[in-house]
């Protein structure tokens, strides 16, 4: 029997983990990457791995995703992607926010995670970097992980090379060729590549690739910017996020830098990797307001990546409707580093006949059949903010 030929488009964390898992499952795997591994959104994030989410189904997937990360070094050939424990601090400045999140505590308890609502004093004691800034009403603190995204992507890429997986850099997937409603090949910038199955892990380019096979996925990219300071000795263990939309986040990396960002409510949709001055000024002003002790640090670089948003801010994982053998693995909506590895693993299991894991139920591509892209409230990462009743 000939081995199943799987072509994976995109050598980010999703595509590379899918490649390693499919190879382990006995498939013949080719990965196409138009740039370099991690050159898209996998190389432009801060690698926060957290279990605490605002809905039960997302919390359950995130628990599985965190567990997968804790075991990932075997898949990466013994390389540890610089995974280290942190506290995820969702910091609140409004009484309504605290009341809303307080109602989620029973759900967090039921799912077995340690997310708890803390009051002002407890927040300032546990997140000392906020002292001297605007006084928070409280926070939700939970144990979490930070992963160094480059270490993870490089570990996966080097492991793929070690195992003889064909990762083609500088080769662009131009389209998916179908016959009688099934995938037969991928047209690339370097010729045609026959395939029994194609995994679309091209995140911000996934919509265009799916369209070549006549599949409509209602996603759109949104620019998200970040800036980084020079390295200082460790001063904080927490990954801080301000729950208010249009505000921001910051944490210290293992290299000692503070990375920080803030969203712009007026950001237009579209693939834009330019750095902007308003972003730098807004971020510095936010830190002055919330964590003024950081004001003596120097910014060394700012950069931009994108969130590929779906209408419900959850990813697309599974077989598209209408084309047999074409699978989506994208639309991470800002949770790619967290969710992509476990989703890639479970998708490969599904493709090789292991059945669909119930955890993946909310991510079925078919839920968007006939749904149009929402250019909605863009900075609302949580997809509902305070108004969403639990």
């Amino acid at each position: 029997m000939t081995r199943r030929r799987i072509v994976i488009v995109g050598a980010g964390i999703a595509g590379l983990v899918a490649a390693l898992e499919a190879h382990a499952a006995g498939c013949h795997v080719t990965v196409l990457e138009r740039g370099y591994p991690g050159g898209g959104n996998s190389g432009r994030n801060v690698g926060r791995i957290r279990r605490m989410q605002l809905t039960e189904e997302l919390t359950r997937v995130s628990i599985a995703a965190s567990d997968y990360w804790l075991e990932i070094d075997a898949l990466l050939g013994g390389r540890n992607p610089l995974l280290f424990p942190t506290t995820y601090a969702l910091v609140l400045y409004g009484a309504d926010e605290a009341e809303h999140l307080g109602r989620l505590e029973p759900m967090w308890r039921a799912t077995g995670i340690d997310a708890r609502l803390h009051d002002t004093a407890s927040t300032l004691e546990r997140v000392p970097v906020l002292r001297g800034g605007e006084v928070p009403v409280g926070s939700v603190l939970s144990s979490a992980l930070l992963v160094h995204h480059d270490a993870a992507v490089h570990g996966a890429y080097l492991a793929a090379q070690e195992r003889g997986i064909d990762v083609r850099l500088g080769v662009e997937a131009l389209g998916v060729e179908t016959a009688a409603g099934a995938v037969v090949a991928v047209e690339t910038s370097q010729g045609r590549l026959a395939a029994d199955a194609v995994i679309n892990a091209a995140d911000s380019h996934a919509r265009d690739l799916a369209a070549t096979a006549g599949v409509h996925v209602p996603t759109h990219p949104m620019r998200r910017e970040a800036l980084v300071t020079h390295s200082i000795k460790p001063i904080m263990d927490q990954a801080v996020t301000f729950y208010r939309p249009y505000e921001g986040w910051f944490n210290q990396t293992l290299r000692g830098e503070i990375v920080a960002g803030v969203t712009d409510p007026a950001e237009p949709a579209g693939l834009n990797h330019d750095s902007s001055l308003p972003f730098a000024l807004r971020t510095a002003a936010l830190l002055r307001q919330k964590a003024p002790s950081l004001m003596g640090l120097h910014a060394v670089r700012q950069w931009a990546g994108t969130y590929e948003y779906t209408p419900d801010r959850s990813p697309i994982v599974g077989a598209y409707t209408g084309v047999e053998g074409l699978y989506g693995l994208h639309g991470w909506s800002g949770r790619g580093m967290l969710l992509a590895p476990v989703c890639a693993s479970l998708l490969v299991r599904e493709i090789v006949g292991g059945g669909r894991d119930p955890l993946m139920a909310p991510f079925a591509p078919a839920r968007f059949d006939g749904v149009e892209d929402d250019a909605g409230p863009h900075a609302d990462y949580y997809g509902g903010y305070v108004t969403a009743a639990p």
Partner: protein, 415 residues
């Protein structure tokens, strides 16, 4: 952002005292001093109270600490590949992640940094027909000048021909029709052993320390500069420091413990305290941010140049030069990137592990990602990679074109 410095800086006085190290590298905790003396390279450390670079901080304000308690951690780490932790340190599995936390808490700062006591700068937007950044002597009449001597410093070029600059009490957002960049040059770090030792600096930096008023009369200086400049340099330094060596050729190696103590030239050893290098890397970072294409130049010690300048941007003076630098052998133990402690051999290891793209190697090793953002090291890193068969494509230009304190960016909220 304060005005020009009057009187010696912390770094200048440290150099005069014979103990030039005021900073330390982040990864290996190696003693460091600045290459630039103008706040570009980020090696000299910063004033804990204000965040200002020590080469721009008055000497009486800070006493730099001489002892780095974590050097003991750095010494064994120097013998390993920078990413040895991946397979060795982080085992057994049950303890995965705990080591990293332990190292973090071992090296943790005693408390939060002090916040500089300055008010939020005002955000001023202006439009000018001609903006001149850098040396005012090169400026056309009528140009608006942004330069440290004029009290302002440009840190970025953004969309719509917008240049951003910090000034005392102000953040300037300047839209211009034409932009002239006379930003001078940084040090092109030569890849020889000892190139990160405190006391190695750009000849411009030595001149800046003297201009600030540092008393370097007892300091022995070796100068590497083209032969045609020797007479002018000798007369300029006469009476200010002891020039013990003046040569166009780059020395074979730099010796010393914790600071420069000697250089090896041919079979001779010359004792000295400072190695001043007139090796220019044109300061093209703002031109690249404005849209010029970065290319690695030619020659035995190539530098990064700006090609295909947009028609509204002009480089002038030394920023526009294509310096012909003397050759030197690439030494494996030399630092290619001092900010992140990346040696030439670390780049070799990254390439032989299977990474063959500048962006991958940059992320893998950290090379060019530290405070200088490639200004001092990019030529050295790209040359080493070129010699290893990797296409030496300069990294994506991004702001900040210069280290910029958050306090100077945190403008009072725009409505």
């Amino acid at each position: 952002m304060s005005g020009p410095l009057l009187g010696p800086s912390v770094s200048g006085r440290a150099l005069a005292s014979g103990r030039p190290a005021t900073g330390r590298s982040f990864r290996l905790h190696r003693p460091r001093a600045g290459f630039c003396a103008n706040g570009t390279c980020g090696q000299c450390g910063s004033d804990p109270a204000t965040g200002e670079a020590l080469c721009c901080t008055p000497a009486d304000r800070v006493t730099p600490s001489r002892i780095d308690p974590l050097r003991a951690l750095g010494l064994p780490a120097e013998r390993q590949l920078p990413w040895f932790w991946e397979r060795r340190l982080l085992r057994p599995r049950a303890l995965r992640g705990r080591y990293l936390s332990a190292i973090r808490s071992l090296s943790a700062a005693p408390g939060l940094p002090a916040a500089p006591a300055i008010a939020a700068p005002a955000h001023r937007t202006l439009e000018v027909p001609l903006l001149h950044v850098g040396d005012p002597d090169h400026a056309d009449p009528g140009a608006m000048v942004v330069d440290a001597t004029a009290g302002s410093t440009a840190f970025g070029v953004y969309a719509d021909r917008t240049v951003a600059a910090t000034a005392p009490g102000e953040l300037l957002e300047i839209r211009c029709e034409r932009l002239v960049l006379a930003t001078g040059a940084h040090l092109r770090l030569p890849p020889i052993v000892g190139n990160d030792l405190p006391g190695v600096l750009h000849l411009d930096a030595l001149e800046r320390y003297l201009d600030q008023g540092a008393d370097l009369r007892s300091v022995r200086v070796a100068v590497i500069a083209p032969a045609e400049r020797h007479a002018a340099i000798a007369s300029a330094l006469e009476g200010h420091c002891q020039v013990v060596h003046l040569d166009p050729e780059i020395p074979r190696r730099i010796g010393g413990r914790g600071r420069v103590q000697s250089i090896a030239v041919g079979s001779d050893t010359v004792a000295c305290d400072v190695l001043a290098l007139a090796l220019d890397q044109p300061a093209v970072e703002l031109a690249l941010l404005a849209g010029a294409r970065g290319v690695l130049g030619e020659g035995p010690l190539p530098v990064v140049l700006a090609d295909a300048l947009p028609d509204w941007v002009e480089l002038r003076g030394r920023a526009a030069a294509q310096p012909a630098l003397p050759g030197c052998a690439q030494q494996r133990d030399a630092f290619a990137c001092p900010c992140e402690d990346v040696r030439v051999r670390d780049l070799e290891a990254a390439v032989s592990s299977g990474l063959r793209d500048v962006e991958l190697i940059k992320r893998r090793t950290g090379a060019m990602t530290g405070p200088c953002q490639g200004k001092v090291c990019q030529g050295a890193v790209l040359t080493a990679l070129r010699d290893l068969g990797v296409e030496p494509r300069p990294m994506t230009p991004r702001p900040f074109g210069r280290l910029t304190r958050l306090a100077d960016l945190a403008v009072a909220h725009d409505a």
